[in-house]
Structure formats: C-alpha cells, structure tokens
C-alpha cells in the first residue's frame, strides 16, 4: 500500500524552476566549447530564383573567416531533409541542406559562413555575392492548382503534392435525408509558432572515438538521432543528441532541420565545434509555420438540428517543401472533423499544395485546431440557419456518457467522455442566465455584445505505434541508487511542460520516498537511450505509464529481496509507505536504502537474483486519449473601431486525472493565449511576390499580458480507462478549444447586423469593414 495522492493531484511548484529563475540554466546559446566556431547563413531574398553564381571570395578573405560553403560544396555530402509522413502517391521535392540550382522560398539557405565569432560570421555573410535570376512565384494555393499556374517545383510537373480522401458512412444518404444543407467557405490562416528562444545548435566531433555530439534546441532529440545518420556520415550509435534547456517549441522544434545536419557536417569537416543560433528573422522565415487551410464545407442537418453528414474539401498550403510531418498535418484535420458529435457520415478531400513559402508543419494542436474551428463554427452556423440555440444543437448531437468508448465515423475510438457535464459546468461557472441577460441588455442598448461557446474533443497521447509514422511508444527507466535515492530517466523531452516535477510526484507516491530524493533526467540520448520525445500532448500520458511500469517491476523485484532479508515468503511481504513489511509482524520491515544497499553490494541475495534495482520499460499505448471541454467567451465589439474586448472567459477542460493542477492550469492558459492571438490578430502574411511581411515581432503580434482577460477556470475529471494514470493530456487543449469560442462570440456580437461569417483573425479593420458593409455605413 502506498499513498498515491500524497503528491499526485497536488498543485506543487516545480523542481525545474530554481535554475531558471536564477538565470543559471543552460540553453544551447549558453554552451561554450574550446575552439568553437560560429556559423551564419546567407538566405535567399527571393521567393523563387535560379542561382546563377555565388561569389564567396571576398567573404573567405575576411580575417577570422574559416570557411564559406555553398550548395555545391555540401549537398552531395549531406542527405536531404527527411519527411517521415507516409502519404500514398506523395510527390516530394528533394530538399537539400543548402539551395541547389534554385532557391524556392524567401529565407531558403543559400550559403553558410563559419568564422571565429558570430560578429565576423555575420559580416562575412554580407560579403557573399549571389547572382539570382528571379522566377515566377506561386503564393496562392488555390490559384496554384488552377490551370496555368507557374510551378513551385517544375520537376514535379504539378503543384499538387497529394490528394487525401477520408470517407465513411453513406454521405449521399445523409444529404438526401437532410432538411437543410448549411454551407460555408472558411480560411484557416497561416501562423508562425514563434517560441521565444529561436532554434540553434552546437555540433562537436571527437575524432578519437569518432562520435558526434549535437546539442540542439529541439523537442525531439531521439528523432534527430534516428534521422540524422541519413543525412551525415555518422552511425546512430556514434551520435549523441542533447536537448539542453529548450526555450519553447510548440511544434516548431518537432523537426529535423537542414541547419542541424549542416552544423554537424561542418564540425566534422573543419575539426572544430560549430555553433549556430537562429535570429528571429530567420526563425520567422525558415522555421516551420502552421495551419493554412482553405476549404468549402457542407453539412446536412435535420430541421431539429441533428447533423447527418459533412462534406469537406480543403486546400492545404504546404509551403515549398516537406519538413518532418508536413503532409500529415492536414490529414489530422480530417480525422477529428466530426468533433465531439455523433455524425454518421463524412467525406473530406484534402489537397496538399506547394507554394513558394516556408513549409508548414505541426504547430500546437497540429490539424486539430483547424478541425475544431471548422466544426464549431459550423455548429453555430447551423444554429443560426435553423434559428436554434447553439447550446441546444450541441446537446442534441453529443454522444451520451454511456455511449463511450465512442466510435466515430472516422474510425477513432473516443476513450471516455462526458461532454454534457463539461458544458454544464462551464455554463454554471459563466453564470449563464446572467450572462445571457447581460448580452440582451447590451443589445437593447445598441451595443455589440456576443457570447460564444465551443465544445471540443482532441486527440492526445500520441500514440499507438500502428497509427504513428515512427513508433508512438515511450521508454522509461527507474533506478534505486545504492544510497536509496531514485533516478528516473524518461524518453520524453520536456521543455517547459514540467515533467521533472510531475514524474517525481508519481514516483515519490508510488515508491513512498521523499519527493526530494527523486531526480528526473531527460533530453540526452546518451542518458535516455530510447525515446519518442515531446509533442502531441504525449509527455505525461505516454511517458508517465512507462515510468509506472518500471516502478511496478522494481517493487516486484524488491519484494523478493525483502522477503529474503526478512526471512519470510514473498506472499507474506507487503509494500507500504516506502517499506517492505511482513504482513503479520509489521515491525519486521526494510526500507529502500537497506534494499538498495543489499541489491548492489550483492553479498546476501536470494538465489538467481540479479544484482541492482533498476528497471526499464517500453509503454505502448493501446489507443490515443481524448480530452475534451467547453469554453465560453463573452465579447464586446467597438462599433466604431471594430476593436474586440473579451469581457468574460470560462474554460472547463477535462484532461482526465490531473497529476499537478497548477501545471494543468498553466498549460491551458498558455494555449488560450495562442488562441486569442489566432482568433484576433495573428497571421503570417506573404505578399504576391512571396516576400514575408511578418518576419519580426514588429509585424507579427504575439498576445501580450494586457491582451489576456481574467479567466474563470474549471475542470471535470473523466479518467482515461486505457491509461494507467487515467491522464489524457493537456498541452494543446487551450489552442484547440479557445479559437472557435472567441470567433463564435464575435460572430454572435455581429449577428444582429446580419453578418454571418468572417475569417480569422478578427482584426478591428476586418470587423469595421463588415459592419460598414452591413450597416451601410460609409467608410471613412
């Protein structure tokens, strides 16, 4: 018997914080190696251009410059940037580490300088002269697939990368039986993830033992270790990848990038460590973007608001080449398009398109925010068209709590859920009748006040290996050291999520040891030998059970040793509060320190007992987890300027069992901040020449402190039955649930003016224009 709730479930402050708040943590830019050189990239200013000639002589001659390399120097020695997504009939360009004959997006690396310090490297990059011949540029994905468009990659003969279809149920029957079909075109704008720490890496080669160490600001050191050997000539078992302190990722660092391979290659080639730190401008231009889908959506509904089927056709702008998961992200949208509703039939066709822009890939939520936005907007449009209450429509289409596990038309098995309870709790916290009254009074006074609801479900805990490109299991190891201290090693790679704390909570409770005795290690492939890293809200949900499995193994092993030391049979030993106790004679007991001592000194072990107290495990999830929730937002729109003010925000999230509610709250609040940005002001803009107009924080707004409303936060707890911790994951919930709630609120505020739908972001100007068009108010 242990006390499983002594730490688990408590809002504990984090063990990782002291080093961070004192400024003594080590991010990749903080590394200093003897003889370290510095790389700087020269990038194409053109979205599409033939590279006629690159003149590097002047740069090479500058004092302090060690080398200048172009595609001609390195592309035949480094493999192409890998894409792990398996999509049938995918047409893919070969994306070399530096541009070859053509540069095909603004920011495409064309040459790299290595110098004795970063200042000189930057100076030398300016001294490289490139002769570009501009080529026709493709920026609009819809025009890219209409006839007569120039081609992003002439050698592919088309701008279409793939066409992916999802189809289930009898869609024709659904539309035949419909009383009404609700239609809407919707644009899901391109976004830039913008972690505050840009990317960066340090590569160091040891010629003696022929090992390469790559420190990289990455979410996925293990994936990098798996994939980098395909790009540089170092075998996997001579490669060590370390994710030091990582300053945020949000999917932008769930990737293997050309710069990582190049720095590794150059470190070997030059025989010195090479560091590269991305600038913000590079980060905006040449680190993955997210979202960017445009589509036409049709829903078949009955008069009373039951949804019979959805037809969707969307165009996904992949940008100019494929990063790790680029083509897979839009397909996730198709998977969860039915949201938290019983919708018997669906067809979705997704056309992945190449344009002369940076590649899109997984940005927080990856495919699910798109789906949730679409279905949640559609539910409101249905309510508008049928003159029904948006809440009533939702309740009508939810599966009942006793229908779980719930099988969706897209073949997902929602593990557990009670969507009604979360909605009800959110309404309670919002003081729904009073909020509705407030809206009605405001409207009566001529103000634009709106309430928006979104009920969401998402896919977390990625994932069952059969459904993942490269295995979805997680690995862990727990070791009781000879001193009785506990070392935990996880294959996930936290960078802000706080698993050094939440895993310690789990381990301390289950082993009955002081939490201060537990240390959690991660992010170094020489320490955490296996892992599948951190993304898709998987750290706790998939990484945690691997640790639990180790603990179970250790307790079983220790029981045998305890029985031997207590001179009783194993069946007579009980594990209780960190001690192994003889059931009938509780004062006959041993603790971990004694057991660990014996296990390692190994002079008094039972027969055939392996020395040591350590276990490692691979946990293979049998299913994804499906957290859900309801967000309710009230906004007021300034009729004259179009400004939106959030006046109330209620978030009820159900992420199953909460190991640390303080961390859960932080994850949700952080996610909502991304959503406020997406709903109201964030968008990545390229002009018609493929120039990025949002290449700095000066032009790409992130939410700031004063943009954040006071939240009312609540939760329901529906444990995941398939997960040993009952946990579901919470890393992306805020970005998934919040955007449609805000959008629905703004549209509710504008509804009385006859405005049906506006695209994101709902900027003041967009709203002002719509108000002007609908109220006949002249501009200006």
């Amino acid at each position: 018997m242990v006390n499983p709730t002594k730490h688990v479930g408590q809002p504990m402050k984090r063990v990782e914080d002291p080093r961070l708040i004192k400024g003594i943590a080590t991010y990749v830019d903080d590394l200093r190696l003897p003889g370290m050189l510095h790389a700087a990239f020269l990038r194409s200013p053109h979205a599409h251009a033939r590279i006629r000639r690159i003149e590097t002589g002047a740069a090479k001659a500058m004092p302090g410059v060690v080398g200048v390399f172009t595609g001609a120097d390195v592309n035949d020695q480094c493999g192409v940037v890998p894409c792990a997504a398996a999509i049938p009939d995918l047409k893919a360009p070969k994306h070399t580490v530096l541009a070859g004959e053509r540069a095909y997006f603004a920011g495409h690396p064309v040459a790299v300088v290595v110098a004795q310090n970063a200042y000189v490297a930057r100076d030398a990059a300016d001294a490289i002269d490139v002769d570009y011949e501009p080529l026709p540029v493709v920026t609009d994905p819809e025009r890219a697939i209409a006839g007569g468009s120039p081609l992003t990659h002439p050698e592919l003969g088309t701008n279409v990368a793939y066409v992916h279809s999802v189809s289930s149920g009898d869609i024709d029957e659904a539309f035949r039986g419909a009383d009404r079909v609700v239609r809407q075109r919707m644009v899901h704008q391109r976004l830039t993830p913008m972690p505050i720490e840009p990317r960066g890496c340090v590569a160091s080669y040891h010629p003696g033992d022929q090992t390469l160490t790559l420190w990289s600001s990455t979410q996925v050191p293990h994936l990098v270790r798996t994939l980098l050997p395909g790009m540089i000539s170092v075998p996997e078992n001579k490669l060590r990848v370390v994710a030091p302190e990582v300053g945020g990722g949000f999917g932008a660092k769930l990737n293997v990038y050309a710069e990582e391979a190049l720095c590794a290659h150059l470190a070997m080639r030059l025989g010195a460590p090479v560091k590269w730190i991305e600038s913000r401008r590079e980060n905006a231009a040449a680190t993955i973007h997210g979202r960017d889908q445009i589509g036409e959506y049709e829903v078949a509904v009955t008069r009373d608001g039951r949804v019979l089927g959805i037809k969707a056709r969307s165009v996904a702008d992949l940008g100019s080449y494929l990063q790790l998961l680029t083509p897979a992200i839009p397909t996730l949208t198709g998977l969860v398009l039915t949201g938290c509703y019983k919708i018997p039939a669906i067809t979705m066709e997704i056309v992945g398109v190449y344009t002369n822009k940076m590649a899109t890939d997984a940005y927080r939520g990856a495919g699910r925010p798109e789906a949730t936005y679409l279905i949640e907007r559609l539910m409101n449009l249905i309510a508008d068209d049928l003159k029904l209450d948006p809440i009533e429509i939702r309740l009508k289409n939810f599966p009942q709590p006793d229908e779980f596990p719930f099988h969706t038309a897209t073949d997902l098995q929602y593990d557990s859920g009670n969507y009604q309870a979360a909605l009800k709790e959110a309404q309670r916290l919002a003081d729904w009748p009073a909020l509705v009254r407030q809206r009605d009074d405001a409207r009566a006074a001529g103000r634009l006040f709106g309430i928006g609801v979104s009920t969401y479900v998402e896919i977390c805990g990625m994932g069952p290996s059969k459904a993942m490109p490269a295995g979805g299991w997680e690995w862990g190891c727990v070791r009781i050291e000879i001193s009785g201290k506990v070392t935990v090693i996880t294959g996930v790679s936290p960078h802000g999520q706080g698993e050094e704390t939440s895993f310690a909570q789990i381990v301390a409770d289950r082993l009955g040891v002081p939490i201060g005795d537990v240390v959690v290690l991660h992010g170094d492939t020489n320490i955490a030998h296996y892992g599948r890293d951190t993304y898709g809200s998987r750290g706790l949900v998939v990484g945690g059970p691997a640790i639990v499995m180790c603990i179970d193994k250790i307790i079983a092993k220790a029981s045998a040793l305890a029985a031997h030391l207590l001179s009783v049979s194993v069946d007579d030993v009980e594990f209780r509060d960190g001690r192994f106790v003889e059931k009938k004679k509780p004062d006959n007991s041993v603790d971990w320190a004694r057991l660990a001592g014996e296990a390692y000194i190994a002079k008094n072990l039972p027969p055939a007992f392996e020395p040591g107290l350590e276990a490692s495990s691979f946990y293979e999830p049998e299913n994804f987890t499906y957290p859900f929730g309801t967000h309710i937002v009230a906004v007021e729109v300034d009729r004259e300027t179009g400004d939106v003010k959030i006046v109330k925000y209620v978030a009820v999230d159900d992420c199953g069992v909460q190991i640390n509610p303080l961390l859960v709250e932080g994850q949700v609040q952080g996610g909502i901040a991304h959503s406020i940005g997406q709903a109201l002001f964030e968008r990545t803009v390229y002009d018609e020449n493929g120039q990025l107009l949002t290449g700095e924080f000066m032009d790409y707004p992130l939410a700031r402190a004063h943009d954040i409303p006071d939240y009312v936060m609540g939760s329901t707890v529906t444990p995941s039955p398939g997960n040993p911790l009952g946990a579901k994951g919470v890393g992306e919930a805020g970005t998934i649930g919040a955007t449609p709630a805000i959008a629905n609120a703004v549209m509710d505020a504008l509804g009385p003016l006859g405005i049906r739908h506006l695209e994101l972001p709902l900027t003041p100007e967009r709203i002002w224009r719509a108000i002007g068009q609908h109220a006949g108010v002249a501009a200006g």
Binding site: D17, G247, G666, A705, I708
Partner: protein, 166 residues
Amino acid sequence: MTQTIRVRINGTAREHAVEPRLLLVHYLREVCGLTGTHIGCETSICGACTVLVDGKAVKSCTMLAVQADGSDVTTIEGLARNGSLHPVQEGFWECHGLQCGYCTPGMIMAGVEILQRHARPTREQIAEGLKGNLCRCTGYVHIIDAIERAAGARRAERGVGGDLKW
C-alpha cells in the same frame, strides 16, 4: 578599434576593451559569461534581454556596451542576495510563473522595476508594465500572479499554488 569601458555588474567592477558595436547583451553574455540574460529578437520587442541599468529596466539588446560605461548593471544572476531569492523570483516559483524559462529572466527584471514604480500594483498596472516582454508559454496570468504576490498583495484567489513547499 576598441574602447575601454568600466561597468559595475551585480556589484563587481569590470573593465574591458570592447568594439563599439558590441551590444550590451553580448557583452554580458560573451565577455562577462553571464548567460542568464537571453536574446529572443532583433527588433527590441521581446524583452528577454531585460536588465537593470542604474536601476532602470532596459533591453540590453538595444544598448551598446560602450553606452553602459560607468553604469551599474544588475542582471538576473545578481538578483538573489545572500543566497535567498528576490521576492519576484520567489513569486515566479510559487505561482508557476514560468514554463520553458526563456523569457523568465527578462520578465523577472521587468517585474522588479514594476515594483519600484508601484508598491502595490494593480493587475492592470502589472500587465501594462509587462508590455515589453513576450511569453509564449504561460499566457501571462501566472506571471501577473507572481508579481502581485511579490508585491505582498494578497494572492488572487485562484485555488492554485497553495503554500506547499518543495
């Protein structure tokens, strides 16, 4: 061509010959080895590089090291005194005011200045005081909690945080 500068950093007098173009943030990080001050942008927006120069919060990426000649600079490393955390640091720890930690040193330094300006700041004053600091992880609520807590204000009743000591 270099220029000799004398700067007091976290109470220690330093003297270096530096290139005029050396940014204060690079001086702190590369010359003095104080890497707690971070860099998150080049347009002076993100605030990750915030330090105190003669007691005032400044973005050290937007000041030349030569401009700091003769000044007193406090960085995140110099905030804790005699081994005990500054109240703003405490607040960030207690209230889960950080996740990845990258914006945190700048946030904390901005928070210190907010408390110099307002002994008992409102949440709006704190938010306004943080306008020059971007965080992409926390959504700011816990950061505002942290600074409010440091001000000695009663902890906002959010049912979290507790008084659990590690």
